[in-house]
Structure formats: C-alpha cells, structure tokens
Subunit: 199 residues, 4 copies
C-alpha cells in the first residue's frame, strides 16, 4: 500500500537521479516520470513545474544533512576535532547520497541558478560553521591568527568540493570518507616542510 508521501518522495528521488545523470536542462519530465514509474501528468499533482522538482529535492536533503553537520560539530571539543568531524560527516553524507552530491556540485557552479535559495542558504550556514570553528581554534591557540578568514573558508570549501568532484567523476570507485583525515592534515599543516629550519 502506497500513500502520497511515498509517491511524492519517489518522484523526488527519481528527479534527483535524472537531474544528476543528465543535468537539469537535459532532463525531461518524461524521463523523470518513467524513472518514478508514474505518468507525466502525475508529477504535476505534486509539483508546480520542473523547477520545483529541483528546488524541493534540495530543500529536503539540505535540511537533513545540515542537521548532521551541526550535530557532529557540537559533539567535539577542540577546533581541530570539530573540523575533522565536519569534513568526515560531509564526506559520509555525500558518499551516501551520490545523486545529491552530483547535483550539489553542479548547481553551486551553474550559472543558471535554479535552486538558488536553497543552495545559498546552505552555503551561508556552512560558511558560518567554518568561521566559528576557525575562530574557536584561534582562541584555543590551535590556529594561526594572521589569516584572511574569508580566504580560509574558500580554501577549505574548495578543497572539499574538488575532492568530492573527483570522487564523483571516478564513478565513486573508492572510499570518499578515507580522504577526510589526510585532507584535514593538509588544511592544518599545508604542504610546506616546516621542519626544514631544524635540519
């Protein structure tokens, strides 16, 4: 027995899949309907139009994922542990839902901003989270004080992004989560050899 919530989320899931595979513009309502096992018209019982499919898809996912982020961060004490937890959870969640990962990567870079509001909001919250962690780390003496905070955020987010992107294009053949610790190390210590003066 299927209720409407089931059908609505089945359509949403199908849309996510189709969008992730073909891009928003190249995806047709017919594809999504077929994928969801419903008639074309049925989609319009649940969603105003094609764009709303994308919007709602994100709205759904983002809320859930962001809650996980907050949770994992608040479950740590030191700034370093917080950063480590955030990045690890990020990878965990994105690995768990590849369609969403793909769409997020595409949409945040697309110049046709369809799910703009959802993305922007999510992005803002994520940035704020990183700010908090970095600032706490500075107070705790774990993180340098001579940093251009806004650049730091871009560096962290860009690195995450690219690691995920590469994983996506590798067709998810390896474990994304295992990248978390090495990445945190790179972010904290950079690539420079800080021991060279001792040698």
């Amino acid at each position: 027995m299927e209720n409407n919530t089931d059908k609505k989320s089945r359509i949403l899931q199908a849309a996510g899949q189709v969008f992730a595979q073909n891009g928003f513009s190249q995806s047709t309502i017919a594809m999504i309907a077929k994928n969801a096992g419903v008639a074309d018209g049925t989609i319009y019982l649940y969603f105003k139009n094609k764009e709303e499919l994308l919007t709602r898809f994100f709205e759904n996912k983002m809320r859930l994922i962001f809650d996980r982020f907050l949770e994992t961060v608040s479950g740590a004490n030191s700034a370093e542990e917080k950063l480590r937890n955030l990045i690890r959870t990020h990878f965990v969640e994105f690995q768990k839902d590849k369609d969403m990962a793909v769409l997020y990567q595409v949409e945040t870079h697309s110049n046709v901003r369809l799910a703009e509001d959802q993305i922007r909001e999510m992005s803002k919250m994520y940035m704020d989270l990183i700010s908090l962690i970095v600032e706490q780390g500075q107070e705790q003496g774990l993180i340098r004080k001579d940093l251009y905070l806004s650049l730091v955020k871009r560096m962290i987010i860009g690195s995450l992004d690219e690691v995920i992107n590469t994983w996506i294009h590798s067709e998810g053949k390896y474990d994304l989560v295992s990248m978390a610790d090495p990445l945190v190390d790179l972010i904290l210590n950079g690539i420079g050899n800080h021991l060279r003066s001792d040698a």
Copy 2:
C-alpha cells in the same frame, strides 16, 4: 576588410559571451549570431553545431592560457616560486577573460560534459604541472614528503577554483590577483599554528 579567421573568432567570442551569461542550454544560436553580427546560418558555415562552438571556444583559450602557465613556471627556480607564479598567472588570465573563467567553472562541474575532451586535457596538463612542482619541491626539501600527492593536487585546484568562483559571483568587484600570495601562503603553511609548541 574582414577575412574568415576574423569572422570565425568573432563568432567564437560571441558564443563564449553568450554561454557565460546564460549557460549552454539557455543560449540560442540566434543570440550568438546576433551578438556576433552575423546571420544564424552563417554560424553553420564555420561550426558543425552548437556544441562545437563550446568545444572550439575552449580549445582556443586553453592552448593560449596553458602556454602562459608553462612560461611563467619555467621562469622560476624554486618550487615555491613556481607555484606562486602559476597561481598568480592563473588569476591574471582568468581575471582578464571573465567569460572564459565563467565557462570553465561551469563546464568543469557540469554533468553534461560537452567540452569534455578539452577540459579533461587541460585539467590533466594542469595536474601534471602541479605534480612536477610539488615533486621538485620535495626534492628541494621545501615540501613535505609525507603527502598523498593526488590529494594535494585536488586541494590546490579546489582552492583556486573556489577563489575564482567567489570572485565571479561577486561580479568581479575586487582584484582577483591579490588573492594569489595569501593563497600560496595557506597552501604552504596551512591554517595550523606551528609555533604553538615553542610558545
């Protein structure tokens, strides 16, 4: 008096502009033709189809830009200087040609890989360049040896990417090139406070 090369490149430039502004799918041949000051049909005398416009646009740009990258890197001795030059030149070139910057950002993340080959090739060469620099740096003792090289590349490229992306979305209101040195510093030293044990 205009020759065919002029017209071809005028069309290409127009295509780049239109694609950058509207995205590939939302751009029409009519828009591009108008922008280039030619008739719709004329475009098909020089290019097989809409997709080829994108492909050739990149081919053109990438070749030129990559030559600059090689040049700027070879004009430096230490690995650090090479990295610094590469990143600075990257920002200089992308700032100089915003249409190309936008398209590159979008296309490298799009799941509809239209200019795939061009992008992939460019990406590969860029990666190799970074590899060379890092490896040289390791030999010179400037860069840590305990690095997961492929992750380092992603971190560097991702950071660059995101810095450019943010600049693009700010409508180019500030100077992108001034981000180069602070970014190199972050990449080399990370955000961690390495002096804390001395304190």
Copy 3:
C-alpha cells in the same frame, strides 16, 4: 439530508456559474466540482461529460422560462400588450438569472454549437410566439400588414439581445426591466417622425 436531485441541480447551477464566468472552454471540471462542493469524479455520476453539463443547464432553464413566457403572453388581450408582456418578462427572467443570461447570449452566437438543440428549440418556440403575436396584431389592425415577418422577428430578437448584452457588459449596473417599455415603443413606432407630414 440531501437527495440526488439536489446534488444534480447543485452541480448544474455551479456549472452555469462557472461557464458564465469563464466561457465553456476555459472552464474546467475541477472548477465546477469545487464550486458545487463535490469531487471531480462525482460529476460523472450525473453527467456523461462536460458538454452535457451545458446542455442540461439550458434544458432546465429554458423549460421554466418558456413557461413564464407563455403564461405572460396568454394573460394579455391585445397584441401590443402581449408583446409588451413578453419583452418585460424576458428582461425580468434574464435579470433574475444572470448566469443563464450570459450563457444564452454567448451560446446563441458561438460557432461551437454545444447546446445547439436546446438553443434551437427554444429559439424556434420564441420565434413562433412572436409570429403569433404579430399575426394577431395584424388581424387586430394594430400592426402593419406589409411586413416581411421573418425580418420582423429578427429585428425584435436582435434588439432584445443587444439590450441584454449591453446590460450584461455593464455588469448589471442598471435596471434591465426598465428598458422594456421604451423598447416596445421603438419596435412599434420606429424612429421615424411620422407626424412630419402633419406639421
């Protein structure tokens, strides 16, 4: 407690209203259902399809209204009084049920004859009624004998029609019934100045 006749006529009334407001093509079953307070599917328990809603609506109304016409005409002696009563009653009834008035005006002129039979039958009976009155008037010496009867009917009906039409488009802001006597005067006497030879 409601019986089926109630529900059927409630649907019919709702249909009339919706059709009158939006036109037949622009009206949807969903609108009518909502207006009638029933489910979309319920309508199909009582009516074969959308078209039948229009057909039955007229059938209903026309029968009732035509009875009034006959009644008011038979309650008069002279042809003039009969004509006056007919026109006055016509205006009274149409003013009383504006939805019906609107639909009747639209449908009699539409080239998509949906309620064709009902309209035609009604129209025929109305014409016959006028014929009777005119012929009686001729016998009584009240009405000219040198008339092209079929044209007279069109003149009378057309005038009525246009007066009603204007009233409808004025959003019913004035009293339609007050137009009856002046109109009868015009029909009987025309606009010509018949006293001019006497002057």
Copy 4:
C-alpha cells in the same frame, strides 16, 4: 514568387477561416498551419502567439471596413439615406467576407474577450456613427426627438446583428444585402400601423 507579406496574410486568412469554423479555443495552431500550407513553427515567425492571430485578423479587417462605412455615409445627404447606406454597406462587406462576419459575431458576444481592444474600438466608432446620423435626422425633422438615443443604437445594432447571424446560420444561402432596405424601413417606421387612427 511569394514575399513575406503574402505569407503573413495567407496565415492570417487561414487563421480567420479556422477560427470562424471551430471557434478560437477549438482551433489549433496545427490546423491553421495546415490550412495556410506552412509548418507550425512558421506561424511564430510572424505572430507572437495564437491570440495575436485573432487580434491581427480583426485589426486588418476592421480598419478597411470602417473606412468603407465612413465613405458610404459621407456620400449621402439626408439622415435616412445615410442610415440606408451604412446598413447596406455593412451587409455588403460582411457578405463579402463571411469568415470575418462569423468571427465578429462570435467575438462581440463571447465572454472571453480576446480581440477585445479591436472590437471595442470598432464598436465605439460604429456607435458614434449611428449617433451622428440619428442626431442629424432629428435636426432635419426626419427622426423623432423623444428617443432614448442609447436604446436606439442598441436596437439598430441588435437588429443588424441578428439579421447577419441568421444569414450566417443559413450558410449564406440567400442574399444578405437584400435585407437592407426592408430593415431600414422597419427601423424607421416600426411595426405599428400608424394609419389606424385614420381608419
């Protein structure tokens, strides 16, 4: 050899025909295109959308026809002759272009006012023309002074309308123009027997 004006007006003519036969809503672009001997898309090279086809159709016709009306009226001296000429020309023109006649009849009564502006303007001018004639007739002593002018206009227009309407529904089997003189007689003299007091 065909130029664009030809094609545009061929489409317009086809649209008029199709609309007249099926009504605006029931007519499809495909029908019109087929009727005009062009591809569906071609229509959109000349017209913004389906509605504009109707609008332009009227705009075209109305202008031409109204000029004839003015001409024929100004070519007469007495109010009676003016009225006679107007009505005769009206019938002549509508008989000449039945598609237009049908559409005009339908549109002026439809509650979905698509060609609203054209119709309204035309209607207004027509009304004004009648007003002028009647007022002149009153000055000349040919027309009664005790008239409700606005009702007179409705009577005249309604009569014309209905005569045309009947002719249309008879499939144009008889000569519409021959109705002009008898109708003018009715309008001027009414149906009443003004000699009865003498008898």
